[in-house]
Symmetry: C2
Subunit: 337 residues, 2 copies
């Protein structure tokens, strides 16, 4: 094993002080050009790589941003994570990713870990509102935390909020306007409450009665769950249209219908959420509520770096809340064209 080279090794090699080496490495003008070059030369020769951890300890800044996400298999969540990672890299930050499996205890644990690792800030896709106190604690120790909420209303935190209530509302309204009166709903469970409420509000505003028998709740976004939900929901109840909390659920349901020779949208209209590529390339291109990743991540990053810049007065700052409006991408499964 080659021992990891430190600044001290470079200093000894050149008969300089550690301080001189430190300054030379960050190209301080206070250092003689000649020695600066020599230092860099030896650093390269020794394969010197700075110890970020030691630096962080003195600078009280790690340049790491934590990202907590319920389920990485959810394409919009992971696309959000990837997009943010890229934006962070450009600003000299790295990302520490943690998943919670939609479990509030894991979420709480993840927050502890990130705080103890001294991350400079945290993005959080909350699974539910159970950890509000902990979130406040994090903010109290001056770590900016930005919620990327597609779900519940979090008035006490900075957040960028994808208005999924409205997404479900326009989707269900669309189906109602097309004449459907029995509209089923595949409820994605925790983190999808707002979609559920938007669906109910749309029914109400269109004079339709909410029937709990038309709702199936699942705990993951998968084709399989969609397929099984369709199997549970569609044979009875006179359902003619289906709104699903995710495209995968919708596509699983689509598959169920097609296997039974049903025509979509004529026999069954289907609308999904997230507008994934899989929706565009489905057997029958799927109408879907778009999740605006670029808008969301841009706003979230702006907000985060604003908070980072005002870190000292974080506690006196009123939580900011940015809302992103979704839109309905109309394709062939809803019958509007």
């Amino acid at each position: 094993m080659t021992r990891r080279a430190r600044q001290e090794d470079i200093a000894r090699e050149l008969g300089l002080s550690i301080n001189t080496v430190s300054l030379a490495l960050k190209n301080s003008k206070r250092i003689n050009e000649e020695t600066r070059q020599k230092v860099h030369q030896v650093a390269k020769a020794l394969n010197y790589i700075p110890n970020t951890i030691a630096r962080s300890l003195v600078e009280k800044k790690t340049n790491i941003i934590g990202f907590i996400v319920p389920n990485i298999m959810n394409p919009v969540q992971i696309e959000t994570a990837q997009t943010i990672e890229r934006k962070l890299i450009k600003k000299g930050y790295n990302m520490m990713l943690m998943t919670t499996d939609s479990d509030k205890n894991y979420e709480s644990y993840a927050l502890d870990i990130l705080v103890s690792r001294q991350v400079d800030g945290i993005f959080l896709f909350p699974t539910n509102k159970q950890n509000q106190d902990k979130i406040k604690t994090v903010r109290d120790v001056n770590i900016p935390i930005v919620l990327l909420s597609g779900g519940s209303y979090e008035p006490a935190s900075d957040s960028v909020y994808m208005n999924q209530f409205k997404g479900a509302y326009i989707a269900a309204s669309h189906l109602a306007q097309l004449g459907h009166r029995r509209i089923g709903f595949i409820h994605g469970g925790s983190g999808n409450m707002e979609k559920f409420m938007g669906y109910q509000q749309a029914l109400k505003d269109h004079g339709l009665e909410f029937d709990p028998k038309l709702v199936v709740t699942v705990d993951s976004y998968s084709y399989e769950q969609g397929y099984l939900s369709a199997d549970a929901l569609l044979p009875a109840h006179n359902v003619t249209a289906l709104l699903a909390s995710s495209d995968y659920l919708a596509l699983g349901a689509l598959r169920w219908c097609r296997e039974r020779g049903m025509r979509v949208p004529e026999d069954m209209a289907i609308v999904g959420f997230d507008n994934l590529e899989a929706a565009r390339y489905a057997e029958i291109p799927l109408t879907s509520v778009a999740f605006k990743v670029e808008q969301l991540t841009t706003s979230a990053m702006d907000l985060m770096f604003e908070l980072l810049a005002e870190q000292d007065k974080l506690s006196s700052r009123k939580p900011e809340r940015i809302v992103i409006e979704p839109s309905l991408e109309i394709r062939n499964t809803c019958g509007a064209r």
Copy 2:
């Protein structure tokens, strides 16, 4: 802002030394039970969270494992990442995720970052073999690095190798045995060379001539790229079967065929790679080469922790190489049933 509490704050509060606090917090038996409890009590009251960074500096161990992956949008890669993250958590480790966009410069950069952040080990999905020297450098400073290679042969590194050569070989052979003589190939580009070679070898072994006109190379796994590839490849050349480097590519091609009223598999047989859920739930269930995530990650974790345990003699250890064999999941797009 509430200042972050340190051990010193607890010590002052109780009139103890920092050392005593430190020991008490890790429940050392050398500490009086009463003071131990008091320390824990005050720690909780002060909302004390240990500073992992300071600990890492003295322990020379961060309990962070780096994970470098070309493209997080690739489902098998992200599933691998997530699976490994969960396994790591159980062992008290966290994961730092970096993406490279299949760019060797980013890959090199990511390695530098992880080394400078003092990670204890690195998993790497290599994009190509360009960074072998750098990988050796990492190993030389005693950081275990395990390649999760679906691609090229890396004799100089510890690696868990998904035998994609064989995967492509059995898939193409399967098609050849079904009577196809003009088999197209959608080449996923860098990181998919072994699939390409397996495809060629299968042709050869079945007496078929390799025709470069039957190969389209793309740079990402997307439905769109698959659709466009089909558009470029299928109208001419008398192709009757198509092997794609990923299920998304295959499904994009499937969509192209179906839009044109082609029957699959009668008019066009299609086989993909990775055996995603989307393959099972496709309009016509897709035959696909399975990627064994569980096997791969289990082996990779075992290997990593073996290396971690022998960290001091890493340089004298011969690189280990574990091979995982893929299998062909036969469904309806190949015509075998």
